[in-house]
């Protein structure tokens, strides 16, 4: 096979065009999702489902999935995938979300969220690590999967992979598993919460502790209600803040125990991996709490937050890569599904005890 060398400048301008085209596709799909939401909102659907139960995260992820399939079929997906930025849009939305939440609520919810995060991350991490060992998975895959499922899906998987020098296929594999399970959970979890009659703060805490990726947590909260969205975001961000600590401990374990090296990884990784957008979320909440954001700008910021989340949900559908899952066989899938069920049940019990009894969030 012969390969033609593409000049760096041409390659770079091609990348920029691909990024802009991808971004344009995401924006158009967000408008389509919003249009679908408006069409269905006032309607009564079959089985007595009210149209307003189908919020925009569902439509955004759905149109993203459909266009994902089309783009891959006509072979243009790779050209424009650099414009699909789930994490970036999500983080912008979360910082803007802070501008509508009183700092008192964050402090109240964060107390419960810290206790919940410590219980959930420890229990789910070690259960996944133990179970994946029983199924004979390699240590690097065990570390990436355990971190992804116990903390926060995609970004935690990447952080853990950096600490344990996991293979690229292991990251893409776990990332695909995270999205494949998170998308249905985003819709099923609010339905189950509704059937159980969970109050919004408890439901939000449950989504935050149970759904694997932050985008789907926000989506589930949005579907359930405004308070659920706020509590789910606070709980998930508290959990995300532990990424650095887990990445450091993993690097230490793999370096000293697995590889037998004498030098220790630096604790600076705790700050390097800390999700800095959380600081932006806290500052915007302080601006709101001190009355620096008036009613009209507040409404504009809330609408921009919804747009940012909608773009993130579209990208989540666009970024799904189910083909990766077939490559590694059934064992990792079985482990992931068992741990997801364990995570779901434990998160329900823990969030009920913490947000219903120990630290009830009053909004």
């Amino acid at each position: 096979m012969t390969t033609a060398k593409v000049p760096a400048k041409a390659q770079s301008s091609n990348n920029l065009v691909g990024f802009l085209v991808g971004l344009a596709v995401v924006v158009v799909l967000a408008f389509v999702a919003r249009w679908l939401k408006i069409q269905v909102y006032g309607a009564n659907l079959p089985l007595g489902i009210p149209g307003k139960a189908l919020e925009y995260p569902l439509w955004a992820a759905l149109v993203g999935l459909i266009v994902n399939y089309i783009l891959k079929t006509v072979n243009v997906y790779d050209f424009m995938k650099s414009g699909f930025r789930t994490e970036l849009f999500l983080k912008v939305g979360l910082v803007l979300l802070g501008a509508g939440i009183s700092f008192k609520v964050i402090v109240t919810a964060a107390a419960g969220a810290i206790v919940q995060a410590l219980i959930m991350v420890t229990a789910v991490y070690f259960f996944c690590w133990w179970l994946s060992g029983k199924f004979g998975l390699p240590d690097t895959l065990r570390a990436v999967m355990s971190t992804a499922i116990s903390i926060c899906g995609v970004s935690a998987a990447i952080a853990a992979a950096g600490s344990v020098l996991a293979k690229k296929e292991e990251i893409t594999y776990v990332t695909a598993l995270v999205i494949v399970t998170a998308l249905p959970l985003m819709v099923i979890a609010p339905l189950l919460a509704g059937l159980m009659g969970l109050p919004e703060p408890i439901a939000g805490a449950w989504f935050g502790g149970n759904v694997d990726t932050t985008a789907a947590v926000v989506g589930a909260g949005t579907i359930y209600g405004k308070t659920a969205q706020q509590i789910a975001s606070i709980v998930k961000q508290t959990q995300n803040a532990l990424i650095g600590v887990v990445a450091f401990l993993l690097a230490l374990y793999f370096s000293v125990v697995v590889e037998g090296k004498k030098e220790r990884p630096s604790a600076a990784v705790i700050w390097q991996r800390f999700p800095k957008f959380v600081l932006g979320f806290i500052v915007t909440s302080l601006l709101f709490t001190f009355g620096l954001i008036a009613k009209d700008p507040g409404a504009a910021i809330a609408a921009m937050k919804d747009w940012a989340f909608c773009l993130a949900f579209v990208c989540m559908g666009l970024e799904l890569s189910a083909g990766q899952i077939k490559k590694m066989g059934w064992n990792p899938i079985i482990v992931y599904l068992i741990v997801t069920v364990f995570n779901t049940i434990l998160a329900l019990i823990v969030s009920y005890l913490i947000f219903g009894w120990l630290f009830p969030a009053k909004l």
Partner: protein, 34 residues
């Protein structure tokens, strides 16, 4: 020159730029209606 910026900080910069535009009235609720 190739400048690389952490995605977290980029998100914070974009969000604050949007927030400032809303506070000074450049972006209005009607314009952004979701």
């Amino acid at each position: 020159m190739n400048v690389k910026i952490n995605e977290d900080w980029l998100a914070v910069i974009i969000a604050f730029a949007l927030l400032i535009l809303a506070v000074v009235g450049v972006i209005t609720p009607a314009w952004m209606m979701f």
